[in-house]
Symmetry: C2
Subunit: 350 residues, 2 copies
C-alpha cells in the first residue's frame, strides 16, 4: 500500500489497533495502559470522530515527550461511600484515566444500582461516546462529562473563563442501537468559523462574539473573540454545571485554574471528569427496556422529514452506522496521522 | 388591602403559604399532601417563577375537579437496589409526587453517597429549581429532569413528537448561594414569539419553524409550527435524553405517549421524572466545598461585562435575589391568581 500519495486511506481495524498499541508503548506506556488509551481512541475513529481519535497521538505524544503527562501513573481509586468513588489519575493520559473512572463507576453501580466516579488529575480524555458505548454494552445508562481549557466567555462577560465542556448521555438500545449524545456547549466549533473566513462569508450572529464579548457576523472578529454557547445563557449555564460536577466536586482544576496544554505543555492540567452510571437491569427486564427503546426510536424516525433527503435521526445513529461500515471496510485515517503513528510505533521502546 | 383595583400586589410569605394550603385542601388534598404541593409552588413564586408557582392552582384545580388527577394517591416507593428507588405517583398532583421522589432519592443518597429516584405516574411537577434548592440546602448536588407534553418536532422532522423537557442542576454554594440551573430545551418560550406577533416584528430564524418544520422569521408561522431547540440538533438530543431518563427508564409515558392535559384533562398523563442526588459531604468537608464554590463564582463575576449595565451573573443568582427581596417585602402575586386562590380557599372542604 502506497500511503504517501493519498491524503486519506482505509486501514483494517485490527491493523490500526495494533499500530496504536505499538505507538503508545513506544511512547513509554506499558501494555495494559496502552490498551486502555487505544480502546477509547480507536472507538472514536470507528465512530467517525477522527479529530478525537488516534490523531491525538500528536498532542498526547508531544506532552508525553516533554513530561507534561505521566506515562504509567499510580492511579488511585478511593471508595468514599458504597456507590461513590474518587479517582486520582495522577496526571496520566486522559483516556487511561477515563477508563479507570468508567470501570470504577461500573463496579459500584453494579452493586448499588447507580454509582459515580469523580475523577481528578486527568488530561483530555477523548470524546465521550466511547465511554457511553462501553457503558451501554454492559447495560448501563450514563451521564458523563469533562471540563476543558477555557475558550468561552461567561454570558455577558468579555474574557475566556470557561471551557467548551462536553457532556454525554447514553442509554442501551435494542440490538446494540444505543442512544449516545456527546455534545460540547458552543453553537459551532472554531473550524466552522475558520471555513467562513476562508470562503469570505459572514457568519450568523449566534456563533461567536468579538473580543469585547459583543455579537458579531465577522468571522475574523469571532476568531479573535469567543465561541457563543448554545441557547445563550442556557449553554453558559450548562457549561458551568459540567465544570462544577467534573471540576469542583472532583477536586480537580476548574474554570481559569485549568492550564492550557498549548501554552504549558509540560505542566499537569488537572482536568476533571464525572461518570454517573445506572444499571438498567435493576429498573426492569432487558426485554422491557429493548421494547421501549425500539418504540422510542420508531416514533422519532416516523416524523416526516422537513427535507425529503434528510430523514430524522436519533443521537448515536451516525456513529454506530460509521462503526458498522468501517468495521467492514476499514477505518478512514488521514495519511499524516497514519504516518505519525508509524513513526511513533517504530521508535525503540523507551 | 384593596386587591381588586390592582393587577399585581404584594402578599407576605406566611399569608400566601396559608392561603395556598387552604386552597389545595379545599380541592380535596389532605394537610400533608397540600403541604408538599405548596412547598414547591411557593418556592417557585419566591424565586420569581410565577408562571410555575401558585398560579398553577388554575390548571391543577381544573384537573382535580374533573378527576384527571388523584387527590390523595397511594404513592409507592420501591427500593430496587441499595441506591436506586422506583416511585409510582399514582397520578397525584405533580409537586406532591415530585417531593416523594426527592425525599426517596435523598434517603438512599445519604446512605450510598449517590442515589436516584425514577418516578412514573406523575403530572406537571412545577419548576425544577425548588427541588434543586431543597436538595442543596441538605448538602446534595442534583441532576433532575422531567418529560412534558409534546411541543417540539424532532430535528429535521415536521410534527410535534417530543416535549420541551426541563433539565436542572444544583450544587450547594457558600452561605446559601447555591448554583441552580433550570432550563427547558427551546431557544425561547412561545410567549416571546406571541409578543413579536403583537408588536408586528419578525423573529430570528432560530426561534421556531413553520408547521412543515422549516425555519421561519414570521411569528405567525412559528406559532402554527414548532419551537426550535437550543443549538439545533444539540438541544434536540438533550430533550430526548431527558425524556429517556425521565420517561423510558422510569416506566412512565414518553414522547407522543404523553397525553396533553389540555386535550384530555380528565385522563392521567403518566409523566416521569428523575432525581439524581450526590451527597457532597462524602467528597470533602463543607469548608472545602464552600471555598471552591465561592472561588468559582468570583472568577465568573470578575469577567468585565460586555455591557456595563449588565454584570455577569451565575445560575440561580436571580432566583435567590428574588427570594431574599420577596421574603422581606412580600411576594408579588397577580391579582387574578390571588383572587382564584381565595375562591378556592373559601370553598367548603370536599
Amino acid at each position: 500500500m502506497n500511503v504517501r500519495t493519498e491524503t486519506r486511506h482505509s486501514i483494517p481495524e485490527h491493523e490500526l489497533h495494533s499500530l496504536g498499541l505499538r505507538a503508545f508503548q513506544s511512547l513509554g506506556l506499558n501494555a495494559k495502559n496502552a490498551d486502555d488509551v487505544v480502546k477509547v481512541l480507536l472507538l472514536a475513529d470507528l465512530f467517525g470522530l477522527s479529530t478525537h481519535g488516534l490523531s491525538r497521538i500528536e498532542s498526547y505524544g508531544d506532552r508525553l515527550d516533554v513530561g507534561g503527562i505521566a506515562k504509567n501513573p499510580d492511579i488511585t481509586v478511593e471508595r468514599v461511600a458504597p456507590a461513590l468513588v474518587k479517582v486520582d489519575g495522577a496526571n496520566g493520559v486522559g483516556p487511561l484515566v477515563g477508563m479507570h473512572g468508567l470501570r470504577a463507576a461500573m463496579e459500584v453501580a453494579r452493586e448499588c444500582g447507580i454509582g459515580a466516579a469523580f475523577v481528578r488529575g486527568s488530561n483530555h480524555f477523548g470524546p465521550i461516546s466511547p465511554y457511553s458505548y462501553l457503558a451501554a454494552e454492559a447495560g448501563f445508562a450514563s451521564m458523563i462529562g469533562s471540563n476543558a481549557t477555557t475558550t468561552i466567555a461567561p454570558w455577558g462577560g468579555s474574557d475566556a473563563r470557561l471551557g467548551n465542556s462536553p457532556l454525554g448521555f447514553g442509554v442501551p438500545g435494542a440490538d446494540g442501537a444505543h442512544f449516545m449524545l456527546d455534545m460540547a456547549m458552543s453553537v459551532v466549533a472554531r473550524a466552522k468559523i475558520r471555513n467562513a473566513l476562508k470562503a469570505g462569508e459572514t457568519i450568523p450572529d449566534t456563533w461567536g462574539t468579538d473580543k469585547h464579548g459583543r455579537k458579531t457576523t465577522d468571522p475574523k472578529a469571532a476568531l479573535d473573540g469567543f465561541l457563543q454557547p448554545i441557547g445563550g445563557h442556557k449553554g453558559y449555564g450548562l457549561a458551568l454545571m459540567v465544570d462544577m460536577f467534573a471540576g469542583v466536586l472532583s477536586n480537580a482544576a476548574y474554570l481559569t485554574h485549568v492550564k492550557s496544554w498549548v501554552d504549558a505543555p509540560d505542566e499537569p492540567q488537572n482536568l476533571g471528569h464525572f461518570f454517573i452510571l445506572i444499571d438498567t437491569k435493576r429498573l426492569g427486564s432487558s426485554t422491557w427496556l429493548v421494547e421501549r427503546m425500539r418504540d422510542f426510536a420508531q416514533i422519532l424516525h416516523a416524523s416526516p422529514a422537513a427535507e425529503e433527503s434528510k430523514p430524522v435521526i436519533v443521537p448515536g445513529e451516525i456513529e454506530l452506522r460509521n462503526m458498522a461500515r468501517q468495521r467492514a471496510n476499514g477505518i478512514d485515517v488521514d495519511a499524516a496521522v497514519f504516518s505519525l503513528l508509524q513513526q511513533r510505533a517504530t521508535k525503540p521502546l523507551s
